[in-house]
Structure formats: C-alpha cells, structure tokens
C-alpha cells in the first residue's frame, strides 16, 4: 500500500436499470485534490459514495478499474469495505447536524471510529480525540469533546465531523458539500482546515456545486451533468477557459462575479439593462430604531434586533446581509407586521405600520395595506397549505387582492406566465414540483396583489447555483416590469452584491454598516464588513486571496435560532 493512488476507470452506476452515472474516469494522486462539480441529480454524490461501497440499496456499480492503493475495490466484501472505510478512506458527510448522533457527545463519536478499528488503548484513544479536535481548529477541545451536537455551532459541528473522518489518518478524504449551508466566515475556516489536510500530503476528493469553493482547493476539476462527465481538467484551465457550454453556464451563474443588471442564466432574451430608478424615488417603507428582545427559556434575555433603521425607496433593492443569528429575519418579520417590535416604529406608504405603546398598530388596520407588501420565504413548500394545488394557492392570494372568482383563472394563467411556469401546473400540488418551480410559485403568489414592496427572506439560499441564477434573473425582470421594491435578505454576499442598490450589514442585531452597494463592496469601512468580504471565495482571476477570519469570530458564536421567534398576529 505504498502507492496511494485512487484509480477510477469507466465507472457506471445504475439503479434498477436506470443509469445515473456513466463511464466516469479519473485518477487521484497523493497530496492532490479533485473536485466533482455538478448540480443536484448530476450523480456526483453517488459517485463519491460508490468509492466507499455505499452507493445505496439496489445500486449496480460497474467499472473497468476501481482501485485505491493497489487494492481492487470491486472485489471487496462487505467486511473488506468496513475495514477500508474510516481507515483508508475518510468520508465527511454533507450535513453535520444530521450526520452526528444528537444524543452523543462529539468526542464519543470520534472515539467510536478509533475503537472500531482497534486503534491504541483507552488512554491513547482519549488523547487522540483531543489531538484531532485541535488539529481541525476546535477551540477548547476538552470542553467541546464532551458537548453534544446541538450545543455546538454549525462550524464546530462540521469540524467535529471532519475530525472523525481524519481519526485513522486515512490517505484519502472525501468531503460531500463540506461548506454548504455555512456562513461565509465559517466556510472560509472550514476551507482552511481542508487545505491543511491537503498540505499534509493526503488526497482530497471534494464534491460541490459551488465553483468558487472548488477554486480554493482543487487541482483538478470534473464537471458532471446527468451522470456524464462534460469537462475534466486542471482547475485553472477549466474555470478560466471552460470548453463546454455547461461549465460556462455554471460560471455565469455565480452572482458575485457579475454586476447588477447582467443576466446570470443563459436562457431568456438578452434583455437590455433596465435603468435603475433614481436614488431619490419616494420612500415606501421606513423603519426607525427597531428593537426586539427575546428571552430564551433558560437563558438571559437577548437583544436580537437593536436600533435598526432604514428606508426602502420605490423600485429599488435594499439588501440586508448578515450571518445566522444576526437578526435579519427578525427585522423582516417586524417589517411584515408579523412580530411586534419592543422599540422603534415602521411606516409603510406614509401610514403607521408597526410600533410600540401609543404607536401600536392593530392588525385590523394593517390589513388595508397588506396587499401592497408581500413576502417570499427561503422554504416555499412550508409556506403553502399542504391541501392546496398551485391554482388554489394563487386563487387564495387573488381573493385578498379583490379579484373576483370569475376572473381568477385568467389571472392565474397570467401569473404563471409571468414567473415562466407552464399554465397546466395550476392543477399540480407543491410536492410534485422542483425547488426552483416552488420558488416561482411563491413569487407568483407574492406579485398576485400587485404589491409595491416584496420582502425576500433568503429566497435563493436553498437552490442550486443555476436555478438560483434563473430565480435572481426572474426577480430582476419582475422588478423592472412592475416597479417593485425589494427588501432582500441573504447571508450570501455574492447574491447581495448582485441584487442590491443599498446594503445594510447586520451583526448581533445591530447595523454595523450601511452604504450603496458599490461603496460597500469596494471600500468597506467597518472591520466586520471587511472580514465578511475577505471570507468570500472567488473564482480564479477575480482577485484577492481568501482571508480566513480569526477563530475568535466563531468560538463566541451567536448561538441563536431565529426560528424560535414564533409569535404571530393570530
């Protein structure tokens, strides 16, 4: 086992006669990193899993060669696989929260791997766990080893998962979407941990849909689409001079690399860039000194939103960017009148909309203007009544807008057309649609009442990069056509840069910086903004190196789940 090459030749995977991966070949040498890039359903995850014998029940894996370190993987028995997993090949699963046992301290989880492979004795195993946690940059490893996953932040959980994959010092580590769903600064830290693995001379196979992440790590890139390799080559070459149109489309879809007004998705006419409305268009929505405290059951009261003020002008987009727990969703809920603030007030179209004490506004009075403001959520599915078809969901929104029942069918077709969905979708149920289609339905519902303002709360965070591109393009088109103003909330700086006119950076409930988008991104004033921007991975040639924020930023993580803040008007 001196030569630790991973050799894959002509790998194909079928499920019940249906081919999901066809004829994939690559070689991974020690100390090198290979990236499998593609969207959901491209077969990248199942390819990676087949390398550890976990392609899934009913999978038929065939290959001319499938070997690691000279060992023929195809000939392995289940027992043989178990000996290899963890020991020869470490696997970092995508979702640390789901992949870690919620009832077991993370230290035990790592200990388990060592025990399974009979590593050392009791004492040396314990020392090894602490050493591993230290290695992946977990502060206070003795304390953290005793904590359960729910007591750790997302970044720490991901580190613990990586530590368990590294436990037996495997020569090859496979990481499936290791940074998806992590905040920018945390993502940068995890990328650094992965870079260190590489620097130690181990091989790394990473799976990602995010080309900017891939650019930070990979030596070689393999672009998969519908189970077929469409492009394969050195990272610089593939990302700088892509030869396949699909690779180009993926690159075009990265919002951070494209200025406002340019299109991200290939389809659709190359529309002329609509002129931006002047910065002095009338103010529609004005928030002054908003504050919200929240007391968790066993914790100190926390100021989730602290003195937040802003103005949203007609036809323009105000981006609010911040990491999880920064209070941005709480601001959205206050602005929507779904949560009463503890301080400050909101004015909408010149009317009192929300306030405290004498300024308090009753839902009954807000209802008059509800049709002028609507919302798009990150998870559209949970915002649809599970009993209703798409047509019923839209009809329900049209009811409020005062569209009579006889006019509704025509208007529903019109709405579906506006969000570029086929009209026959009206009879389908949300569960039968893809994530991108569901978000389009949510957008159709949001524009049904011809609103002036739409609050977009992480509307593209759960979507693949090319679907995200299409949805962002759609939102831009609708803004131009209907003169909408967006309050656009996201943790993704690239998305915020692409859509916003004005940006508000939030941290721990406070606004740390507010500026026009170009000013903010070219010349950030606040240290936090600078750190946030530095942590955004970029494509090669786009400029600056990744700046990894200091660990302190996360070990004092603001562990607060905004979804706990349920208190609505009914």
């Amino acid at each position: 086992m001196s030569d630790k090459h991973l050799i894959v030749e002509g790998l194909s995977i079928e499920f019940g006669g249906q081919s999901v991966v066809r004829n994939v070949s690559f070689t991974l040498a020690p100390g090198k990193t290979l990236a499998l890039v593609g969207e959901s359903g491209s077969g990248k995850s199942v390819t990676a899993r087949s390398l550890i014998g976990l392609a899934g029940a009913g999978a038929r894996v065939t290959a001319r060669t499938l070997s690691y370190g000279g060992q023929d993987l195809l000939a392995l028995s289940e027992r043989g696989w178990r000996g290899l997993r963890g020991k020869g090949i470490g696997f970092v699963l995508q979702d640390a929260l789901v992949s870690l046992d919620p009832l077991r301290p993370v230290g035990k989880e790592i200990l388990e791997v060592l025990k399974t492979h009979n590593w050392g004795d009791r004492r040396s195993r314990r020392e090894r766990v602490i050493e591993l946690l230290e290695k992946v940059g977990v502060p206070e490893p003795e304390l953290r080893a005793r904590q359960r996953p729910d007591q750790l932040s997302g970044g720490l959980r991901q580190r613990a998962l990586i530590a368990s994959a590294l436990a037996m010092s495997p020569g090859l580590v496979i990481a499936d979407e290791p940074t998806t769903a992590l905040d920018a600064t945390v993502q940068a830290q995890i990328l650094q941990v992965l870079q260190e693995i590489k620097a130690r001379g181990d091989s790394l196979l990473i799976i990602s849909h995010d080309l900017a992440v891939v650019a930070q790590l990979a030596d070689e890139v393999l672009v998969l689409r519908h189970g077929v390799v469409v492009e394969q080559g050195p990272m610089q070459q593939v990302l700088r001079n892509p030869r396949h149109p699909y690779t180009q489309a993926l690159l075009d879809a990265v919002p951070a690399e494209h200025a406002r007004g340019t299109r991200l998705s290939p389809q659709g006419s190359a529309q002329a860039v609509a002129p931006r409305p002047a910065a002095d268009s009338p103010v529609l929505l004005k928030a002054t000194g908003l504050g919200k405290r929240y007391t968790a059951p066993d914790q100190q009261p926390r100021q989730v939103v602290d003195d937040v003020s802003f103005e949203l002008r007609a036809g323009r987009t105000l981006g609010i960017v911040g990491e999880s727990g920064s209070g941005k969703t709480t601001v959205a809920r206050i602005v929507l009148g779904l949560l009463e603030p503890d301080a400050g007030q909101v004015q909408f179209l010149g009317h009192a909309w929300s306030g405290v004490g004498a300024d308090r506004v009753l839902e009954k009075d807000r209802r008059l203007h509800r049709r002028d403001i609507s919302v798009i959520y990150q998870d559209p599915l949970s915002s649809f009544d599970p009993r209703w078809s798409i047509g019923q969901i839209l009809a329900d929104a049209l009811d409020v807008a005062g569209v009579s029942a006889s006019q509704q069918p025509a208007r529903i077709s019109e709405l579906l057309e506006q969000v570029r969905l086929p009209a026959d979708l009206a009879t389908r149920r949300p569960l039968q649609l893809s994530g991108g289609q569901r978000q389009r339905v949510a957008i159709a519902r949001a524009i049904a009442s011809n609103p002036k303002v739409i609050i977009c709360d992480e509307p593209v965070s759960a979507l693949d990069v090319s679907v995200q591109a299409q949805v962002l393009d759609l939102l831009a088109d609708l803004q131009a056509a209907l003169g909408l103003a967006y309050l656009f909330i996201s943790h993704d700086l690239g998305v915020i840069r692409h859509v916003s006119d004005q940006v508000l950076v939030m941290r721990h409930g406070k606004v740390v910086e507010s500026a026009p988008v170009d000013v903010l991104f070219e010349n950030p004033q606040h240290a936090y903004t600078q750190r946030l921007l530095g942590a955004v991975p970029r494509l090669p040639g786009a400029g600056s190196e990744l700046v990894v924020p200091p660990l302190e930023a996360e070990s004092t993580a603001w562990l607060f789940d905004e979804s706990q803040l349920w208190k609505i008007a009914i």
Binding site: V61, A63, R64, L338, R370, F384, R387, D396, R445, I568
Partner: protein, 287 residues
C-alpha cells in the same frame, strides 16, 4: 470486466405478495364495516326472526342450520340478537365519539388559540381528567345519572374526550405556527377566515384517522359498561349486555358469549384496519 453488484432489493415475487396483502386487509375491513352499517340500518335484511321472541322449547340450541349462532336460555335466536344489536352498538360508538370529539375540539381550540393563560387552564383541566381512571369517571357518571343508553353515551364520550382534546390542541398549535398560516396572515386574510379555511381543516386532517379508530374503541367501552350492568338493561339486544347475560352459561353454552364477542372484536378490528389504511393514504398524499 469485473462487476460489483449490491442487490439488496426483495425479489419481485415477494414484493408483489406483500402488496396484495396490504390491499386485502383494508378490503375485508371496509367490507365488514359496510355489512355492519347495513345491518344497523335494516336488520330485517339479514335476520328473519324477532330478537326478543321467547321460545322456551328452543333454549340452548347450539349453532346449526336452524339457528346459525344458536339460541340463549330463553330460546331467543342469537344471530338475530347480534344483528339487531349492531344498531345500538354502532349508535353508541358513533354518538360517543362525536360527543368526545366535540368536547375535544372545543377544549383543544380554546387551548390552542386562546392564548397562554387559557391554554394553561385547559391543560390543567385535562390533567385532572387524565388523573381519573376513565372507567371510574364513566362509572361515577352512570352512578349519578342512572344506567341506560343516554348516560352510557355521555359517559363513554366524556371518558375518551381528554385524549382527543390533547391531540386537537397539539395539532392546532402546530398548524398555527406553520409557515402557511404566517403566509396567510402576511397576505392579509382576516383571522376568522384563516381559522376556518386553513387552520381547522389542516388541524383536523390527522384526526379523521383517529376518529375512525375511536368509533371501534367507543364500542368496546360501551360494551364494557353494559357488561358491568350499566348500559342497556337485559334482555335488550346489545353486545355488551349479551356478553354479560351469557356469562353464567359459558361452560355449557359457549355460543351465548362467543358470537357477540366476535362481533365486538371484528368491528373494532375493522375500524382500526380501515383507520390505518386511511392514515397511509392521507400521509402518502402529503409527503
């Protein structure tokens, strides 16, 4: 070319057989329930003799061609009595479940929608009701208001209500805090409309299944109370009462208790199987 095959799927034949079994159970259950309902509505269709007619010469006839289920100590035809008893048992089951559900919905809505203080009150009341063994509660009720069908229904209904009330409350709370209710508020729907059009239907949806099973449970309950002599007085053709009457002769004439017991078991089993089937169908459509 070497091949690695991971085939852990069941062979085709076995899968098919499992699928057929899944279908047969609910089919039989729905079939039996249909039979029970028809028997309750028009017992004359199946039973040709009077369930109360006394024929002393025919006493303790074992099951046979003349009397399918045999006769009792007074020569009454057991088959007729079981068939005629269907109406009463089913009526008690349905009425008691309906009563339990009404009380449960009222309490559940009060708790789920009424705000924290009211919710605490409702919870407190439910805790007390739970602390009482339900049978004691029902016995207490019958003791105060006398025996008979009416008090039997009320006793059974009240005895089973707290369990349902907790479910309703939980459902209402879950639906109330769901994304689609928030979306409805954000759209600007009036509160009453959201409650009627979205909250109630969604909260009640999983209860349809529980309700189906609840009818069977209520029949067992009512039979138990009748067996204890607190329900329909003998010689009324009621399953629980018949069990109670046949108890003295169980060593010599097993059919007096066997057939009413069989019908109680089959009816309850059918409602449970039918309920589970509905549950699978509904959840299958939801996820």
């Amino acid at each position: 070319m070497s091949a690695l095959t991971l085939e852990t799927q069941l062979p085709g034949i076995r899968v098919q057989r499992v699928a057929r079994n899944v279908r047969l159970g609910p089919l039989l259950a729905f079939g039996f329930l249909l039979f029970v309902i028809i028997a309750a509505l028009v017992p004359q269709l199946f039973a040709h003799s009077n369930p109360l007619a006394i024929v002393p010469n025919d006493a303790f006839h074992p099951p046979g061609w003349g009397h399918w289920f045999g006769t009792d100590q007074s020569g009454r035809d057991i088959f007729s009595r079981v068939i005629y008893g269907t109406r009463q048992s089913l009526l008690i089951g349905l009425a008691a479940t309906a009563l339990a559900m009404s009380v449960a919905i009222a309490l559940g809505l009060l708790g789920g929608l009424g705000g924290p203080r009211l919710d605490r009150g409702v919870n407190w009341l439910l805790e007390i009701l739970f602390a009482f063994p339900s049978l004691i509660l029902a016995l207490l009720f019958v003791a105060v208001f006398g025996s008979g069908i009416g008090p039997l229904i009320v006793a059974t209904g009240l005895g089973t209500a707290p369990g349902y009330a907790r479910m309703v409350r939980g459902q209402v709370l879950a639906v109330r805090h769901s994304g689609y209710i928030e979306a409805a508020v954000a759209l600007g729907h009036p509160t009453w409309r959201i409650i009627v059009r979205q909250l109630l239907p969604n909260a009640m949806r999983p209860l349809i299944v529980t309700l189906t099973m609840g009818v069977g449970q209520a029949i067992v309950w009512a039979s138990a109370l009748s067996f204890l002599g607190l329900g329909a007085p003998p010689p009324a053709p009621e399953w629980g009462t018949m069990l109670s009457m046949g108890r003295d002769f169980v060593a010599n004439a097993w059919w007096l208790t066997f057939f009413p017991g069989l019908f109680i078991v089959l009816t309850t089993l059918s409602t449970t199987v039918a309920g589970r089937y509905l549950q699978q169908r509904l959840e299958g459509r939801l996820s």
